[in-house]
């Protein structure tokens, strides 16, 4: 143990910070990570208040644009393809005369919901699967991991594409019963619900492996043994001792996976299997306009920049979190 580490340890003892607080303080010291975090908070605020959905839900009243100048689907055929800086349209308009600034700002909602929901779904499924596998008897554990290995060989993105094609066709045709309810939810969300399902359900495999590996290493620690000696049951051990200790690395790895979810959504929207137009997904905006890049470059470069900045921020935050939770990697 280095002298510095020992000093750190002593400091911790004196101040009595919890590991989580400690990690948070280390995150604040990570400049790029903090910057990424601040940017994401800004993006979250934009997504929440881009129009008055939330105030309207609390106080009543109609939903109208708040931060965004216009509604994302407001078409104006006489003001097509205006360059940035045109009065009334700070970032110009697209091929249907829709305000690009508004569409880009509304786009935060799509990317963020995908990021949050896909990450949560994959975290919950992966953690559950991994912890169960880590605690199960060897034979069950082997079978569960074999299943994961099996799925690992699958070209999952291709199944996501097929699944999305299925969902979109079903939602176009309409359906009854339970599927009908889901289709209605999907329509209300502009085609996002099925994206959540397709992305979340198929991305838990890496998380399951990580959670299992972490569980196995934590399981051998003395404090688990002493908890067992004190008569704690499996459930108590999982929730009081295992989960808090493995959550850090799992959240870090999930944060690092978020840019992947965001770009997968953009990719699916780009090939026409993502959100339903006119929902302003950045990927959809690029795919609608990249062919005109010679004449109207801003139409695809602006949503592209928004997409790049958001993924960049999540990458920075993920890096910062990794360093914060695992100080050994600090500076690496």
């Amino acid at each position: 143990m280095s002298a510095k580490k020992r000093r750190d340890a002593r400091e911790e003892e004196v101040r009595g910070r919890s590991p989580l607080q400690d990690a948070f303080h280390r995150l604040l010291k990570h400049r790029a990570g903090t910057l990424g975090g601040i940017f994401i908070i800004l993006v979250i605020l934009v997504a929440l208040f881009v129009d008055t959905t939330i105030p309207a839900a609390i106080f009543g009243g109609e939903v109208r644009p708040l931060i965004a100048p216009k509604h994302f689907a407001e078409v104006s055929f006489f003001e097509r393809d205006l360059p940035p800086g045109t009065p009334g349209y700070p970032l110009g308009t697209d091929y249907l005369g829709r305000d690009i600034l508004s569409r880009t700002l509304y786009g935060t909602r799509i990317s963020l919901s995908i990021a949050v929901v896909a990450a949560l779904v994959s975290l919950v499924i992966g953690l559950t699967y991994g912890i169960i596998s880590g605690f199960a008897p060897t034979r069950v554990d082997n079978a569960m991991m074999r299943f994961v290995d099996f799925l690992y060989g699958f070209p999952l993105i291709i199944f996501v594409i097929l699944l999305q094609a299925y969902f979109k066709a079903v939602s176009r045709r309409g359906a009854t019963g339970l599927v009908g309810v889901l289709v209605n939810i999907d329509r209300a969300l502009g085609g996002m619900f099925f994206l959540f399902v397709a992305l979340g359900v198929l991305n838990w495999i890496g998380m399951a492996r990580l959670a299992r590996a972490q569980t196995l290493s934590v399981k051998q620690k003395e404090y688990i043994e002493s908890a067992r000696a004190l008569g704690a049951g499996n459930l108590r051990i999982v929730f009081r001792h295992v989960l808090p200790n493995i959550l850090g690395p799992c959240i870090v790895s999930e944060t690092l996976a978020i840019p992947g979810y965001i770009s997968t959504e953009a990719f699916l929207s780009f090939i026409g299997l993502g959100v339903t137009p006119p929902t302003p997904s950045w990927g959809l905006m690029i795919s609608e306009t990249y062919a005109a890049i010679r004449t109207y470059p801003w139409e695809s470069l602006i949503p592209g920049t928004a997409l790049a900045l958001t993924t960049l921020a999540f990458n920075f935050l993920g890096d910062g979190l990794r360093d914060a939770f695992d100080p050994r990697l600090r500076g690496t």
Partner: protein
């Protein structure tokens, strides 16, 4: 070792079979059939029925599934439903080499840029070079393909006019043995540069980050100190003793990365108008062209499975302590 490879190959069989079955049910679950429309017009019921009978779509499901799997095993999918004058194999034979070249060049670019960049960053840790390289790497990871493609095209093809904008694989046609392009032709490289860089950039960046992180851990190991203490030159220590050991995490991500390159190629092929497999795969889904869906999914899956096996086998070469038995 041989035993391990054989076992992995055997293990690939149920995986591929399962993929075929899942693809079958997913493709069939999509509402609508391949013969609902002829162009924009809806086909009359009787013609649709006849076409479906001709291609065996009126048979019971299990029979169709059996035929489908048998087709997959023989790798002969018959005519494509969307353009019935060509077989799926013809289309794959024409388009797969182009997609493969694109993916291969992108991966090569990613490795040739990523590993040296990561190594330099790690050796010069916390220097301006390191910060610059790390920043570039994070920037590269964060730039989505669909952003880089139009951007590069705009700068290098439209504004500067140095490189062609599109039509890779159509302007030059000669392929040796039906697969290898003429790598001595300037035309090939001119066409290949932009798409390959677009596709490979993000991966070169993530390889650079991984190489750096992993090399930083490795150069703190005792055996590196030993190597230095024995008086080995720094360059040799880093490259032979350090880099080789730090490549294991890099090799681990090559498998998933390969899958990512497959998806990325769908976007890149669309942006640069490349006549590769990706376009056919996406249109096959919209057309409900079942044999074409099956053919392309199977090609992608075989590639992915093979890539995973190669990656796993390469561990043993990178770290002789890893033994498979």
């Amino acid at each position: 070792m041989i035993q391990y490879i054989i076992r992995r190959l055997l293990w690939a069989i149920p995986v591929l079979l399962a993929i075929m079955v899942v693809t079958f049910f997913l493709a069939r679950a999509i509402p609508g059939g391949p013969f609902d429309f002829a162009g924009e017009k809806q086909l009359p019921e009787s013609i649709r029925k006849n076409l479906e009978r001709k291609y065996g779509l009126d048979r019971p499901m299990y029979e169709q599934l059996g035929k489908w799997i048998w087709d997959g095993i023989r790798f002969d999918f018959g005519p494509s439903y969307a353009s019935r004058s060509q077989t799926v194999n013809d289309i794959l034979k024409r388009t797969f080499p182009i997609s493969f070249q694109l993916g291969f060049l992108a991966l090569l670019f990613a490795l040739l840029i990523g590993i040296p960049l990561g190594t330099i960053a790690a050796v010069k840790q916390n220097s301006p070079i390191d910060y610059g390289a790390t920043f570039l790497a994070i920037l590269g990871v964060s730039m989505p393909t669909m952003m880089i493609g139009p951007l590069l095209m705009w700068v290098f093809a439209i504004t500067l006019g140095w490189l062609p904008t599109a039509r890779w694989g159509t302007d030059y046609t000669q392929l040796y043995l039906g697969f290898f392009p003429n790598i001595f032709s300037a035309k090939f490289w001119l066409h290949a540069i932009l798409p390959a860089i677009t596709l490979g950039l993000a991966y070169s960046a993530s390889i650079a980050r991984l190489t750096r992180a992993s090399l930083l851990q490795v150069i703190r190991e005792d055996y590196i100190k030993t190597a230095y203490a024995k008086g080995l030159p720094a360059r040799r220590t880093i490259i032979v003793h350090g880099l080789r050991n730090s490549l294991i995490p890099v090799a681990t991500v090559l498998g998933p990365m390969f899958a990512g390159i497959v998806t990325g190629s769908l976007v890149v092929e669309q942006i640069f108008g490349i006549a590769g497999m990706g376009k056919y795969f996406v249109t096959a889904i919209t057309n409900r062209d079942y044999p074409m869906i099956m053919g392309s999914v199977l090609v992608y899956s075989v590639l992915l499975v093979a890539a995973n096996i190669v990656v796993d086998v390469s561990y043993a070469w990178l770290d002789p302590r890893i033994r498979y038995d």
